[in-house]
Subunit: 379 residues, 2 copies
C-alpha cells in the first residue's frame, strides 16, 4: 500500500491579536516508529468535549469563514475575558478531535503493531480531525470483524464516560445516579448500561419529547425540569432510588444545587439519615460538561456533607489505571452495535466542518443532533 | 462530694409555629453508668459552629428575650424558607454547645473512669451549655496538671479543625494551604501550626489591622481581599507556595471561586502544569463555615480538575479513625498554652447567653471577639 507524502490536519489557534483561527494544514506523512501504526481516519465525531479545544472562549456568534476546500479558514473574535482564560494556549496551533476510527495502513516494527495492518481500529488520542494519524498500537482498539469505522468512531468518549460514571459510583460508595441532559447520545447509552447492570438512574430532561423518548427505552425515573413539579418529582425519584451522586452536563446555573437540595430533602424523609449538620451521607454532583456557560450557583441548604467538582474522562482513567481501562474497552468492543451504538444526523467533510453555517449548526448542541466528520470525503 | 439533684441545660427548639425558642431546662442529675463520668462544666466557648444548632435559619435580627435568671427565654421568628430547611428538627428540643471543660465530680464503675475523679477534663460531645454533663470517660481529654477549665474549654473544635486541615492536605496529596478569615482564633492557630510543621500557608484577610496582626506573628503570605491588587497578590502567593487546597470560612459569595481562579492562573505560569482542559493538578476548596450565607458562585474558568465542598470536623474525624484522633488530641494537650491557646473577650453566664442584646454581640461574629460561657457563674 503506498501512502501519500502529505496529509491535511485541522488546527485551532488563538492568536495574540485576539482571534480564533481554524484551518487545514498540510503535514508530512510520518514513518511509523517501532510499536506505532498509521491510521487512515475515516470517521470522527464532533463531541461536546471537542468544542472547548476547537472554539475555546471565542465569540462564535460572530464567526465567519473564507476560502473553500482545503483552503477553508474559520475565524472568530475572542473577547478580553476569553483571552485571559486561554492565556496558556495563545499562538499555539492545537490539533483537534478527541476520537475516531479508521483503517491501519502502515505499522512500525513489533508483532502487535504489525498484527493490526489492514484492521479497522478506534483511537482516542487527540488530533483525529485529519486524514491520517500516527498512534501507539497499544492505544488503538481493534473493532470486531464486520464493524466499520463509522460503527467505531464514537467508541471512547461517550461509552467510556458512561461506563466511568458507574465506576465512579462504585468507587465512591454510591448506589444510584442522577443524570442531566439525559436524552443525549451519552444519556441514552447510560440508560442502557444502567438497565444491564441493574443500577437505578434518575434522568433529568427539559422537554416532553425527551421524557417520552427515555420512557420508550424503558427508563423508570424521568423528571422534567421545565415542569412546576420538578423539585417534588426529583425529590421523590431520589428518595426511591437513594441516589447521592449526580453527573451534570450543563455545568452552569442552579441545576447542580437543585440536585443537592433534592438529595437533602430526600434524606430528611429517611429516619437516621439526618443530623443537625444536615444529611449524613456524602452527596456529590460532578460537572462533566459546560452546556450552560453561566456561573454555577450553590444555595448550600444541604448541610456539610456535599461536594461539587469537575469530572473529566482522561483524569478519571489516569487514576483508575490500566486494568480498568482494558476491562471497559473490551466491553465497548463487545457491545458496539447494541449498548454503545451511536447515531449521526449529519456526515461532513473536514472543510465543511470549518464553514460558518455548518459550525453554527453543530455548535448549537441540539439534543438528538450529532455530526460525524469523514476525513476521506472530498473537500 | 455531694451533687445537686437537678441541673440546668440550654435547649434550642424550632416549633412548628415557626418560632425559635431557647431556654434553660431543669434536668435530673444522672447516676454515672459504668465507664461514665459526670463533668461539672466550668467553661464552654461559643464557636461559629455552635450557631447553626443554636439559631439555625431563624431571623436573629428580630430576636427578643424575656424573663431573667434561670427563666430567661430567647425567641426569634423563622422565615418560611428556614422552616423548609430545618424540617428535620422541628419541635425537637436540641441540646447545644459542642465543647467545654470542667471538673470530674462523679464516676461510674471502671478503673479509667475512676482515675479521672477530681481531674480537669475537656469534652467534645454536644450539650455542653449546661451545668453538668455525663459522658463516656474515653471521650474526655484530661488536661495537664495546672491547666484550668478555661485553658481547655476550646480544646477540640478550633485545635482539631486546624490540625485536620493539615491532615486533609497530606491525605489528599497537597503541600500548602490557602485559608480565609485568616485572622480568626482558628486562623492564628493555623499560622502557628504551619510554622511548627514547615507548611506554607496563604492567609486571606479583609483588613489592614488583620494583615498587621498576622505579619506580627511571622506569617509570610498574607493577602488582603479588600485591596485592588487582591487577585494578583493571591496568584503570586499561590504560585510561590504551590497551594492547591483552600479552606474557606465564609462559604458564600465568590471567594472560593476566586481562590480556584488564582490557582489556575498560577498553574498557567508553571511549565507542564497546564493542559488544554486547564491545569492538571486537582484544585480543591472546602467550605468549613458559613459566615456569608449568600449563595456560592463559581465562575468555572479553572478547567476540569477542581472541587468545592463542605468540610465538617466530625465527618473528617470519623473517616480518619481513632489512631489519628488520639495523636492529634495528645498534641493539643501538650501544646495547650502555646500553639493552641485561646483568648476570650467576654465571659458570660448561661442566662446572659440568652439575653437578646448579648446574643446580638456574639452573633455578629466579629474577628477577635470570642465569648466564653461559664455555666457555674450566677444566673
Amino acid at each position: 500500500m503506498s501512502l501519500p507524502s502529505k496529509y491535511l490536519q485541522m488546527l485551532s489557534t488563538v492568536t495574540s491579536d485576539g482571534e480564533l483561527c481554524m484551518e487545514l494544514v498540510e503535514k508530512d506523512m510520518p514513518e511509523p516508529k517501532p510499536g506505532q501504526i498509521i491510521v487512515r481516519v475515516e470517521a470522527t465525531p464532533i463531541n461536546p468535549s471537542d468544542h472547548g479545544v476547537m472554539f475555546g472562549w471565542s465569540n462564535m456568534a460572530a464567526a465567519s469563514s473564507s476560502g473553500s476546500g482545503a483552503d477553508t479558514v474559520l475565524t472568530a473574535p475572542v473577547p478580553e475575558q476569553g483571552m485571559r482564560v486561554m492565556k496558556a494556549r495563545i499562538d499555539q496551533a492545537l490539533p483537534v478531535g478527541n476520537e475516531g476510527a479508521g483503517t491501519v495502513v502502515a505499522a512500525g516494527e513489533g508483532d502487535y503493531a504489525q498484527s493490526l495492518l489492514g484492521k479497522v481500529v478506534a483511537v482516542m488520542g487527540g488530533g483525529m480531525y485529519g486524514q491520517y494519524r500516527a498512534v501507539d498500537a497499544m492505544m488503538a482498539l481493534p473493532l470486531h470483524e464486520g464493524h466499520t469505522a463509522k460503527d467505531g468512531a464514537s467508541c471512547f468518549v461517550n461509552p467510556l464516560t458512561a461506563l466511568c460514571f458507574l465506576e465512579t459510583m462504585r468507587g465512591e460508595g454510591h448506589t444510584a445516579i442522577v443524570h442531566t441532559a439525559a436524552a443525549s447520545n451519552l444519556g441514552q447509552m447510560l440508560v442502557r448500561i444502567c438497565q444491564a447492570d441493574g443500577v437505578d438512574l434518575v434522568n433529568i430532561v427539559r422537554k416532553q419529547e425527551q421524557e417520552d423518548l427515555l420512557r420508550g427505552m424503558g427508563a423508570k425515573y424521568v423528571v422534567n425540569s421545565s415542569k412546576d413539579s420538578f423539585m417534588a418529582d426529583l425529590t421523590d425519584a431520589i428518595h426511591e432510588t437513594g441516589a447521592t451522586l449526580g453527573f451534570d452536563a450543563t455545568g452552569g446555573g442552579k441545576l447542580a444545587s437543585d440536585i443537592l437540595s433534592a438529595m437533602e430533602a430526600a434524606a430528611a424523609r429517611t429516619p437516621g439519615a439526618y443530623s443537625i449538620y444536615g444529611s449524613v451521607a456524602h452527596k456529590q454532583v460532578y460537572l462533566y460538561g459546560g452546556l450552560d456557560t453561566s456561573p454555577t450557583t450553590l444555595t448550600r441548604g444541604y448541610g456539610m456533607a456535599w461536594g461539587v467538582g469537575g469530572w473529566l474522562l482522561p483524569n478519571f482513567l489516569a487514576k483508575a489505571g490500566q486494568d480498568v481501562a482494558v476491562r471497559l474497552r473490551t466491553r465497548v468492543a463487545n457491545e458496539l452495535k447494541t449498548t454503545f451504538a451511536s447515531h449521526y444526523t449529519d456526515e461532513i467533510s473536514l472543510s465543511e466542518a470549518l464553514q460558518a453555517d455548518v459550525v453554527a449548526k453543530y455548535n448549537a448542541k441540539t439534543t438528538g443532533q450529532k455530526f460525524l466528520i469523514c476525513p476521506q470525503k472530498d473537500l
